[in-house]
């Protein structure tokens, strides 16, 4: 029964299946597989089935759209009213949001079915789900390997057929890298394209909301519903939301695809060969391959690891343990903050808070944070110049394939995992990861990067590369 949204929504319309039936099917798969994969951290059968029954009524009445009646997984940093939402942290264990994030409100209105919450690295900081308080998820293609992260619960769930699609968030690669690890499609949108109201924040100038899906077409259908201006999120520009799904069949003939040398020169021979075969494929479809250079690429990681922990340290300062989180019996207020925060945050969260607090502290602010914001401008300009020459940029999403859980020795080793996804995040532009071929029995990945608000273009190229 596990099919793309495009297929399932047709089946729901023509009565081949019902949303209740479909929801029961996915709940069954979750029951079978979750003990091994740990993709979902919570499942709510009762509310899922109630949502499905409602969706069936909508469909019977001829209402709704492509997502109506389709079950999805919700990353555990999307506030769902009344449902525990923890961002993978002990700090938020037991926290049941009193309100719902905009994206879930839109999906609820569209008749989508929420199956439960998927695992994430603690406060979205990691590339493997290993920093989650719920323990790491496993890659369904090889359970010794990571599903990637931070949206690793979502990528594992989609790849294992536990849901038709899943929500994710991407700050430096947290949708694209797990999508690449699990062989699914992952869309990171333009900064501000999708509302973040009610989505637990990591780094506010970088965070974006997107999806993990079975195809670029499905991602387009999802984006049509979740994108758009939201007065509850001041960072969402009032830019029209096009019918992305109608932009998919654009002709590849004459499309100019840039391949930045900085992304391919370090690839291993095998991966390079596989990647080149995709360039040949694109050429055979009529695209023109253009060698380009993005000279600031090598500074992306440093810019990211200054800006992101700095904003993390500010965002996580709100967790004081007064309303929820670990309880402290300290005598005075300040000691209670220390106790709650020390017990609430895990190792990686503490490390990033320290990095960020240090980078923002007196004497270092100019050398680190301000400097990083300036180099960010240069990275953004790199892309802008490139897009004067080419329509999209094509790179691998990750340098190889999913790594083995526990194999990254140092924090820096883990940070390097995002080296190819970070520049688009720093520049705030859209990118999609799609799977192709394999290496070491695991899927390889392509990343299609486009100019601001050109989600339709990147999804179109991704769609044409696959079909």
């Amino acid at each position: 029964m596990h099919q793309t949204i495009a297929t399932l929504s047709q089946q729901l319309r023509n009565g081949t299946t019902s949303s209740v039936e479909l929801t029961k099917y996915y709940l069954g798969v979750i029951k079978d597989k979750n003990a091994e994969l740990n993709a979902f951290v919570s499942v709510n059968e009762e509310s899922a089935l109630a949502m499905a029954a409602k969706a069936d009524d909508m469909i019977a009445a001829g209402k709704g759209g492509a997502l109506t009646g389709i079950p999805l997984g919700v990353k555990d940093n999307f506030s769902e009213k009344g449902m525990e939402t923890t961002a993978g942290s002990n700090m938020l264990k037991g926290y049941k949001p009193p309100y719902e994030c905009t994206v879930l409100m839109k999906l609820r209105e569209a008749g989508a079915v929420f199956l439960g919450h998927t695992n994430t690295d603690e406060f979205m900081m990691g590339s493997s789900t290993e920093t989650s308080v719920f323990g790491s998820s496993k890659n369904p293609l090889d359970t010794e390997r990571t599903p990637g992260g931070s949206s690793g619960g979502s990528s594992a769930a989609v790849a294992a057929g536990m849901c038709a699609w899943a929500l994710g968030s991407d700050t430096g690669g947290s949708i694209r890298q797990p999508a690449a690890c699990c062989g699914v499609t992952g869309l990171k949108v333009t900064y501000g394209r999708v509302s973040r109201y009610g989505v637990i924040a990591m780094a506010s100038s970088l965070d974006t909301v997107g999806c993990l899906a079975q195809s670029p077409e499905d991602a387009a259908l999802i984006l049509e519903v979740i994108a758009g201006h939201d007065e509850m999120d001041a960072t969402t520009p009032d830019v029209e939301v096009p019918k992305y799904s109608e932009q998919l069949n654009q002709d590849m003939k004459g499309i100019k695809i840039g391949v930045p040398k900085e992304y391919v020169e370090g690839l291993s021979d095998e991966v390079k060969k596989a990647f080149d075969s995709q360039l040949e494929l694109a050429e055979s479809k009529g695209a023109k391959i253009v060698d380009i250079s993005l000279p600031m690429t090598e500074y992306g990681l440093a810019v990211y690891y200054i800006i992101s922990p700095s904003e993390v340290s500010a965002n996580l300062s709100r967790y004081d343990g007064l309303r929820f989180g670990p309880k402290s019996d300290a005598e005075d207020l300040v000691s209670s903050y220390f106790e709650a925060r020390t017990a609430g945050f895990g190792d990686e969260a503490k490390r990033r808070i320290i990095i960020g607090t240090y980078a923002l502290s007196a004497g270092y602010f100019d050398a680190y944070y301000k400097k990083a914001l300036k180099v960010r401008t240069l990275i953004k300009q790199d892309f802008e110049k490139a897009f004067e020459q080419v329509d999209v940029i094509l790179t691998p999403t990750v340098p190889t394939v999913a790594f083995k859980t526990g194999s990254k020795g140092s924090p820096m080793d883990m940070y390097l995992e995002d080296i190819m996804t970070i520049p688009a995040s720093v520049a705030g532009i859209p990118a999609v990861s799609i799977p192709y071929g394999e290496y070491d029995n695991m899927p390889l990945s392509l990343q299609v990067i486009g100019p601001m608000f050109e989600e339709g273009r990147v999804l179109g190229v991704a769609h044409n590369m696959k079909n």
């Binding site: 001041a234 090598e298 929820f324 320290i354 240090y358 300036k374 953004k380 924090p411």
Partner: protein, 95 residues
């Protein structure tokens, strides 16, 4: 740049975190390595380059000043299991 244990201890205090001696030791080593790679930025010439703190360029976004319903106090209090008093969450004396 090499960080000292005292610097890490000081920053942890600013961030309201109690670190054990083992954590201080470990973080000092790890952060020294991390900041050494971040110091790479110093080699970029940014003379006259503007900062980008927000990529889409939106500025001072405000909505119309009209009253809208907000969350209900009782609902908000209910999500916390802490001790409450007179419609508020009770905390320790701060002054």
């Amino acid at each position: 740049m090499a960080l000292t244990k005292d610097e890490v201890r000081h920053v942890a205090k600013l961030a309201r975190l109690n670190l054990t001696d083992e954590e201080i030791e470990r973080f000092t080593g790890q952060l020294t390595g991390i900041f050494e790679s971040l110091d790479k930025l110093a080699e970029v010439d940014t003379e006259g380059v503007e900062e980008t703190s927000q990529v889409t360029g939106l500025k001072n976004v405000a909505r119309e000043d009209v009253v809208k319903p907000s969350l209900d106090r009782e609902d908000l209090l209910e999500i916390s299991e802490r001790e409450k008093s007179r419609g508020m969450i009770k905390v320790r004396k701060s002054i």
